[in-house]
Symmetry: C2
Subunit: 187 residues, 2 copies
DNA sequence: ATTATTTCTAAGCATTCGCTTAGTTTTGTT
DNA sequence: AACAAAACTAAGCGAATGCTTAGAAATAAT
């Protein structure tokens, strides 16, 4: 009854995600999105309402990508070691050539101010909590750990992971490896 | 021979710093600076050349503020404990009411892309290295540590500190305390 | 083939961006 | 008092921002 879309929404979001990941939210203009996604501004607004809509879909897509790493962690049954592997997997995941882009979500937390974008901020805190819960359940695999210690260690690990998101942009591969090594020494 | 400036440059930079710290570089417009600094755009450009100039002066001012914390660390003679105190001091320093603003420098590293602002990026990496060196010299106060371990631990501590800069925006006071506690358990 | 519906292109909207400039006011020197 | 130099005010510059709209092109049902 009508014309067909000449683009696949998931495909263009995939391209938008790469752009947001590399440049951040504010620094990515709708004109840049238009160019990278290969579709007109009209189509962008028709499919995703506005720039924030594109970003939220990008976060969704980013989540599906990191879901693979999370599933690997969930299925791992070797406690702390599984978490350590997740750290390495994340570094590999966030690398594009020799460039580390950090974590799209962490980058965004740093950029977006809660008061002026509660919607996005909620998406982001949920994302972080999901990973934290995976850490908790893996830490519980060690029966000798008390539950109060587990909560502390989960926060500690999240802090290290947040740090890595920035550190990966500044430190070299050897240093990053050392950081992860030392991080897991006392768990 | 000419009219006097009706403002003190350090005072207006102090106000600019607060604005950059709260909003980030890009999200702080010259109009906002004008309002917060209490001087006209003409005066801003006359005194600091451009927006980047205001930011670089803000970084300078920020450094003088954090210099106090650094001097305390430098004078401390209790190795790892002194570094741990620096972590707490930083958290207190970055707090405004109940709001954590993170580290101005860390926030900026996350926002500014190296390729399009090498000048700022150099300022930032220097800043980070200075703190790292303080960590190294404090770690050396423990004679039992090997120098290779010290370098690794310095990177590890910088990673935790970078993490705290973000984590402080998301986690509560109790969690932050726990994070620092666990971070220093195995040093 | 006609028609209705959706997607496309491309121009343009108001607003904000960093920055400049014309012109006035203040100041110290002569 | 006359002048020169710097600092002020306020308007405005071109470019970029997010977003909208008018109209042409394509598609499916009738």
């Amino acid at each position: 009854m009508a014309r067909k879309k000449q683009y696949n929404e998931e495909e263009v979001i995939k391209k938008a995600t790469a752009l947001f990941w590399k440049n951040g939210y504010e620094a990515t203009s709708v004109r840049m999105l238009e160019k990278e996604m290969g579709i007109n501004q009209f189509s962008i607004y028709a499919s995703f309402t506005n720039k924030q809509g594109v970003f939220l879909e990008s976060i969704k897509y980013y989540k599906t990508q990191i879901h693979i790493l999370k599933e690997k962690l969930r299925k791992s049954n070797n406690g702390v070691l599984g978490i350590q592997q997740y750290f390495y997997d994340f570094l590999e995941f966030s690398k594009e050539g020799s460039l580390h882009k950090g974590c799209l979500v962490t980058n965004s937390v740093n950029e977006i101010k809660e008061e002026d974008n509660t919607l996005i901020m909620n998406e982001l805190t949920n994302f972080a909590n999901e990973i934290r819960e995976l850490f908790v359940s893996n830490l519980k695999q060690d029966d000798s750990k008390e539950s109060s210690a587990i909560e502390k260690q989960a926060d500690y690990l999240m802090n290290s992971l947040l740090g890595l998101s920035i550190a990966s942009k500044v430190f070299n591969q050897e240093q990053l490896k050392n950081i992860i090594e030392v991080t897991f020494l006392n768990l």
